[in-house]
Amino acid sequence: MSTRNRTMGPRANNFPLFSELPPHVLAPNANVTPGDQVALSIVSNSQLLRDGLVLLLGSHLDLHLVGSYTGLVSKTAVLPNPSGHVVLLDGSMGCAPAVAWTRRWCALTPAAPVLVLELENDVDVILACIEAGAKGYTLQGASAQEVAEVIILLRQGRTLCGADVVAEVFRRLVAYAEAQARPATPPSPLSDRELQVLAYIAEDYSNQRIAQALVIEVRTVKHHVHNILEKLQLHHREDAARFARGQGWLAADVPPLAPPNC
């Protein structure tokens, strides 16, 4: 591999430079080294970008161009992939097409990792492409050197992510774990109005105050309470409120209540 120019323009990705990575990241697999020949396919509707990638990556990698494609193609049009083959996919056309292309090319070339290039710096777009099967990405403005570095890591089974992407992945993992740990909420047999009444009961509101809060007649409140107790087969309104709260029925849909004016 040629000597890298450390004085290139501002780095588009918040990635460390290849040469700044610790040795265990650079060579986790002794069989893959930066000097190996890299087989690539390039997918972009921009002839200029395809030309540019071939020309500029050639000064960083021992490049073997397998195929150059303008976009979505049929399976028969895709050339056979040698092992260690990487697909470079132009993701500059926007989120939905980038995700669709990623999904399509992951299906067309399941053994070849797909690297999405020229992505906008939007965590949701990046993660959507990763969920669609991309094994790596570079942002708009990434230099050929940065693309080459990500390709080498990708062939080692590794990738680089910006700190904001990692933070969002952590956040989603926590949310997922919490959702998994939370027992499933059984469906409520109560109507929305009955749940509203029950929420006020849980806050120790009298029937009269509930009627004021919901702008209904007191007798209508009583009717709702009667139905609640009958549906839940309970005898006391406090028990009904406690039961509903335990089931998680009184969570998000109930507006916060002001304390009763005693």
């Binding site: 588009a12 030309d51 403005g141 990434a142």
Partner: protein
């Protein structure tokens, strides 16, 4: 209009400025310009303010990166008013589309946006200059 190849043979140097093109495409365009014997790269800028500050009468052709090439980016009309001889080649950020703008915001779509034709397109833009 002078043919682009005549232009190359005439010995004149086309002064090219590149703006708002970064990454692979920015590297490609600047390298291409630097490799042409009849072109010189004046400077490379990012952002409209830097572009306005850096633009001068010596620049013949501006290659300007933009999200869309049509309609012309707003700065084009200002630059063409200030520098009537200027030719602006607006290139989509991924290089998939390009259009040439000159005085009066007249436009010509660039049909072939490829590496092999880019230098020729710049010469064509410069040759348009001679007709004004």
């Amino acid at each position: 209009m002078a043919a682009p190849d005549d232009q190359e043979a005439s010995g004149a140097i086309i002064c090219v400025m590149v703006s708002d093109l970064s990454g692979v495409l920015g590297q490609l365009v600047t390298r291409l310009v630097e490799q042409q014997a009849d072109m010189s790269l004046a400077r490379q800028t990012h952002g409209p303010l830097k572009l306005l500050q850096a633009m001068g009468p010596e620049v013949d052709v501006l290659i300007l990166g933009a999200a869309q090439v049509r309609p012309a980016p707003g700065i084009c009309s200002h630059l063409l008013q200030e520098f009537p001889h200027l030719r602006i080649l607006v290139l989509a950020h991924n290089g998939g589309d390009a259009a040439l703008y000159w005085l009066g915001l007249r436009r010509e779509r660039v049909r072939d946006v490829s590496l092999s034709h880019l230098a020729r397109t710049i010469r064509t833009a410069y040759a348009l200059n001679a007709t004004v």
